[in-house]
Amino acid sequence: MIKIAGGVILILCAVLWGRERCAALRKRCEITAALGAFVRYTGERIGSFRDPLDVIFAAYSDKCLEECGFLPVLRESGALAAAKTLSASLTEKDARTFISFADRLGGGYEESQLALCTYTASSLEQSAAGQEQAMGEKLKLYRLLPVLAAASAVILLI
């Protein structure tokens, strides 16, 4: 009886772990896409209205970026501090790209800022699209592999 209960718990843990990984994967993809949209919006506001960054940051709203804490830090402490809070939630390359963007944002004239926004937005959007494409396979893997591993372990143990 104890062995069966242990086995059930092991499989349950594997299912939960797999789900958590799937959610993290989806979240990363969502955040990357949301950041791409944010950067594009910033570029548009700079190009169209030359709004200062604090005005742009105050006007921007996005559920995903609000929930992950990016926008509150952005409004409070600026782009670089906010970018650093997200480095764990992005791929290494995206994190590097975004931190470099945040560091240079506001430090140049209009043309250079627009080029910076266009480049960063394209890079993040491409990355988000790539992640989306690869996600189907990865989700299957995260759902099945832990359960199979747990089931094998249970069979071996019982």
Binding site: P52, L53, G106, Y109, E110
Partner: protein, 304 residues
């Protein structure tokens, strides 16, 4: 949203790196004076101006620190200030002005951009309530036609104009004053309850034209008239029945008249008087030269 205006030295120091701000505070404390300017140059010592003295501080300014000062002055949005940087200055949203210079990129003789900024001069505006009362009495006179205030740079022309506005736009005068505040220097330090229409950021000639056409002012105040188009706009305003109080760089009336457009403007009869200004112990000394329609009459000194 309107940001609260703040003109204290501490506000100006808030744009500097802590290390430099501390050195400026120490140097200012040693000289017991009001800091008028803070001068930063890349890889050079920081200077402050107290009265007419230029005092060297113990700190220098590294290129990184210069960049951080620039970014702070621009609210971390340099691109918003590209137009004024081309003109040689940055204004903070709270009204502080900093002169800047670096390497100009030109095209067809016009500056299209300024890069590698190596000098920043932060000017701290001050209030001297009542310091221009002598001039206000002249302006309030029924026969007043206009006034030109001249002095070399940094002697207090803008401060005098600010005090004139503050006094004449308040009771008992309550004149309707249109202030052409091209560089955001005059109106920022004034409080509310004044009958002032501030044309902030307007080019001088355009601002005067707009004021005359749409604001029905009793007096136009404009700082630093510096070209024939500005002088023509002053003459237009005078022709439209609105007297102007303007300022210009010059150390004497003769020097002022060396510029053709200024000579023409003075000879047009647009001014009742020309005022030479010099600061003295936190107040001003005015050398008032009466100008008739047929030329200069006599000079009187108004001292505190």
């Amino acid at each position: 949203m309107t940001q609260k205006k703040n003109y204290s030295e501490e506000y100006a120091l808030s744009f500097l790196p802590v290390r430099i701000a501390e050195c400026v505070r120490k140097a200012a404390a040693l000289y017991h004076g009001t800091v008028g300017e803070i001068r930063l140059r890349t890889d050079c010592p920081v200077f402050i101006t107290v009265g007419r003295k230029n005092i060297q501080c113990a700190a220098g300014c590294t290129p990184d620190e210069m960049l951080s000062v620039l970014r702070a002055l621009c609210g971390n949005s340099l691109y918003c200030h590209s137009e004024t940087i081309k003109e040689g200055y940055i204004c903070t949203p709270a009204g502080l002005r900093a002169g800047v210079c670096g390497r100009a990129v030109t095209e067809g003789g016009k500056i299209i951009s300024v890069t590698d900024i190596t000098s920043v001069v932060i000017r701290i505006p001050h209030r001297f309530p009542g310091a221009a009362d002598g001039l206000c009495r002249i302006i309030a006179d029924r026969d007043f036609r206009g006034m030109i205030i001249y002095s070399p740079p940094g002697e207090g022309k803008t401060t005098a104009l600010r005090e004139i506005c503050a006094r004449l736009a308040a009771k008992p005068y309550s004149l309707r004053i249109a202030v052409i505040d091209t560089r955001f220097e005059i109106c920022g330090a004034l409080g509310g309850d004044l009958t002032i229409d501030a044309l902030e950021g307007y080019p001088r000639a355009k601002g005067m034209e707009t004021a005359v056409r749409t604001l029905s002012p009793q007096l136009i105040v404009c700082d630093e008239i510096g070209c024939a188009a500005d002088a023509a706009a002053v003459e237009e305003s005078f022709g439209a029945g609105v007297p102007c109080v303007i300022s210009a760089h010059a150390s004497s009336l003769e020097e002022l008249c060396m510029r053709d457009y200024m000579k023409e403007l003075i000879n047009s009869g647009a001014f009742s008087c020309a005022v030479g200004l010099s600061p003295k112990d936190g107040a001003f000394v005015f050398d008032v030269t009466e100008l008739g329609t047929s030329g200069i009459r006599e000079t009187e000194r108004i001292a505190p």
